[in-house]
């Protein structure tokens, strides 16, 4: 039997909004928040400590309330006669990439807030954290509570791209969200699907860290290491390249020296031996192609300094460090750029050079430490709020 809808109200610039949600949304937020206490005591084997810590922070109540506020406006006790009634749109289908990291668990949390049925599809060969997180959350959810009910609405399947279930998934979804290659996204959206359904594609992306010369301090160095080390170049939100704004080669080398010195203090765990070995190769490849490249202690990463004329080194744990004027940095942004993470010299809340990016391909401009923060808007697309229908009331 369907759960009874409950209303929560918001005041947005376009009027008052009543969210008709199938159950107790406040209880769901509280139970996600409470689950964090269990999470802090238990680290499932499938997760690294950093991944789990990020999930703990992500499930915080104020963080999740922020998603709702950003979509619907400020929470109010009573909307009176609402101008809009918002309701779940219907089944949401998500195609996850093969090297899934936290994306699956993050989407479990985010999409649980939409009140929709959700089906997450992983690749047949995926090292998938989604199943592990769902199992953990189901095991520790309160019996008969809102979180358990929300998780009941979420399913997860694993199969290959040529499996017949692919077509069934597309045919039954009111919202399709595809993470993967452009070809994979085109293939999914090319399957028969409901005419009024919505489709979102999150495909290959490039991200950079732009650091003002005056912003290079101990905090920036440590933050850059943390942001890069968690995914290396495998993360679409990871900085493939660090641009020292208005810097020069000597300052890039000095930054490199500070990174190398601090790396093992910030990231204490050893890389798997295969990646440590790959870094030996990457250091040599970078050197052979003209980069000034060094290995971090215990082969934890490769730090390569070089000018814009050098071909990029696309290896998992190689961080490229270059320097540029603002104009050069903007001009060199690839068309598939997603995030620019910034570190600013003192006295700025937002980058003073932000206007230079208005006409660039960049989709996100965020502080360096927030490059990986996943949200309701991704690659500039309102995928989360599109999981709702808006009923206009006059």
């Amino acid at each position: 039997m369907a759960e009874r809808e409950q209303l929560s109200c918001y005041r947005s610039p376009r009027g008052t909004v009543a969210l008709a949600w199938p159950g107790d949304l406040d209880a769901l937020l509280a139970e996600w928040h409470a689950l964090r206490e269990v999470m802090c005591r238990t680290l499932p084997a499938a997760f690294t400590r950093d991944e789990w810590a990020y999930l703990v922070a992500f499930a915080a109540r104020d963080q999740l309330e922020g998603v709702l506020v950003r979509a619907f406006g400020e929470r109010v006790a009573d909307a009176g006669a609402p101008d809009w009634v918002v309701r779940p749109r219907g089944r949401v289908a998500v195609w996850l990439p093969n090297n899934v990291s936290l994306l699956g668990p993050l989407l479990v949390i985010m999409l649980s807030l939409t009140g929709n049925e959700v089906e997450l599809k992983s690749g047949s060969s995926a090292d998938d954290l989604t199943a592990a997180f769902l199992a953990f959350a189901r095991q520790h959810a309160l019996a008969g509570g809102a979180l358990g009910a929300a998780l009941e609405r979420i399913g997860r399947q694993a199969f290959g791209h040529d499996d017949p279930r692919q077509a069934a998934l597309a045919a039954g979804a009111r919202v399709r969200i595809v993470f993967g290659t452009s070809a994979a996204a085109d293939a999914v959206h090319g399957l028969p699907h409901p005419t009024e359904s919505a489709g979102f594609s999150f495909v290959e992306r490039h991200s950079e860290a732009w650091i003002e010369v005056g912003a290079v301090d101990a905090t920036t160095v440590d933050t850059l290491i943390k942001v890069f080390a968690i995914y290396g170049q495998a993360g679409c939100t990871s900085p493939r390249r660090v641009v020292l704004l208005d810097g020069e080669v000597a300052q890039a080398l000095a930054l490199r020296a500070r990174l190398a010195e601090r790396w093992r203090q910030v990231v204490r765990r050893d890389l798997p031996v295969h990646l440590a070995s790959a870094n030996v190769m990457a250091r040599q490849l970078a050197a052979a192609r003209g980069w000034d490249a060094v290995l971090v202690e215990r082969h934890a990463a490769v730090l390569a300094v070089g000018g814009a004329e050098l071909a990029p080194i696309e290896e998992p744990m190689t961080l490229l460090l270059s320097w540029a004027t603002l104009e050069q940095a903007v001009a060199r942004l690839p068309a598939h750029t997603q995030t620019v993470g910034y570190a600013l010299a003192e006295g700025q809340r937002r980058p003073r050079w932000l206007p230079a990016l208005y006409r660039s391909p960049v989709r996100r401009v965020v502080p360096l430490g927030q490059m990986h923060h996943f949200g309701a808007v991704w690659d500039g697309a309102e995928y989360w709020s599109s999981c709702f229908e808006w009923l206009e009331v006059r």
Binding site: N98, P272, A288, P316
Partner: protein, 347 residues
């Protein structure tokens, strides 16, 4: 080239080997710009562990070639272990090829004897037809060429063990006084070891001394729970007196140097080569612990393949070997374990 004139497992001549390797390193630094950029500060230090090396993965990303007087580069070998994998690009030159052929012949003679026998290759002849490109298993098979009186490719389809042409095998075996059979480990098992030859051929094969030579590793067979003992026993059961099974290890990046397994299950290093074991996280040399193998030889002049850090794990074994061969020996422990870096990028 005095080292190569001695038997492969004669007593070691370390000073001579070091001098040759240092000279070869200087040659590659002078003639290969990429190699020189990788090792800009190297100077001879009188020790093998300080010799520059290149990581094996670099040969998949760069076509490395060393220029020098009297070096005549012939072609580039594109070699991959499996179809579709990124191939290594190995530049071959006439001078090195001659040294490499002498080397592999000397090593194989030590294990198989000097007789020339027909070589049956468990691969398709089509593998030879791709111009300038050869698979790792074809390159491995060709290293047996110095001991072959004739070469016969006996698979109709190089990927299909059921395509073994037993009639061809029978035709070759009838007139021979011994056979060499080469296949990748998994293919030798699937095409020959795990099947019964036709009735009439069984009698012929049981009258032949057959030397089965294989390389490529056990990973696929481990999944099928095929042990080395079962593998060897199955092959030898259908062969005559004096038959043997030889498992060897080698890299396409180090043509000419192969490491057959001795009766003790160990790999011996020929006089003109060296093996170091290194810690994967520091590259510190390891005396007896397991680590990453670095292979060195004095044969490669046209490309800096003389010192290669592999992605294979091994362990040096101290002491003298009961098999009687001199020099360092090691136990091969397989590939470095792979763990994909998790991200949110797309693949």
């Amino acid at each position: 080239m005095t080292l190569l004139e001695a038997p492969p497992y004669a007593p070691r001549r370390p000073a001579e080997l070091l001098a040759e390797l240092e000279g070869l390193t200087a040659h590659h630094l002078a003639g290969c710009a990429e190699f020189a950029r990788c090792w800009p500060d190297w100077r001879p230090q009188g020790t093998l562990v300080a010799l520059p090396f290149l990581h094996v993965g670099l040969f998949k990303r760069l076509r490395l070639v060393t220029q020098g007087p009297q070096l005549e580069h012939q072609r580039t070998l594109l070699s991959s272990a499996t179809t579709g994998a990124t191939p290594s690009m190995i530049v071959l030159d006439r001078h090195s090829s001659a040294l490499q052929a002498r080397s592999s012949a000397a090593i194989l003679r030590d294990f198989l004897g000097p007789e020339l026998r027909p070589l049956l290759v468990l691969d398709s002849a089509r593998a030879l037809l791709r111009r300038g490109e050869v698979t790792a298993r074809t390159a491995a098979a060709m290293s047996l060429k110095p001991l072959a009186s004739a070469i016969h490719f006996v698979l109709g389809d190089g990927e299909d063990p059921r395509s073994l042409d037993w009639a061809k095998v029978a035709e070759v075996a009838e007139g021979a006084t011994g056979l060499l059979v080469y296949g990748f480990t998994s293919m030798l098992w699937r095409a020959w070891g795990s099947v019964e030859p036709p009735e009439g051929l069984r009698r012929v094969l049981r009258g032949q001394a057959i030397h089965f030579v294989h390389s490529g590793g056990w990973k696929r067979l481990e999944a099928e729970r095929v042990t080395r003992e079962r593998f060897d026993a199955a092959l030898l059961a259908g062969a005559g007196a004096g038959s043997s099974v030889v498992d060897y290890y080698g890299l396409v990046e180090q043509v000419g140097i192969i490491y057959p397994q001795c009766e003790q299950g160990l790999r011996h290093v020929p006089l003109w080569a060296e093996v170091l074991v290194r810690d994967p996280h520091t590259l510190a040399p390891l005396a007896t612990e397991a680590g990453q193998l670095q292979l060195l030889n004095v044969l490669s002049w046209g490309a800096p393949c003389h010192s290669v850090l592999t992605e294979d794990l091994g362990q040096l074994v101290p002491g003298a070997c009961p098999c009687g061969r001199h020099g360092p020996r090691f136990r091969l422990l397989g590939r470095l374990p792979k763990a994909e870096l998790r991200g949110c990028a797309h693949g």
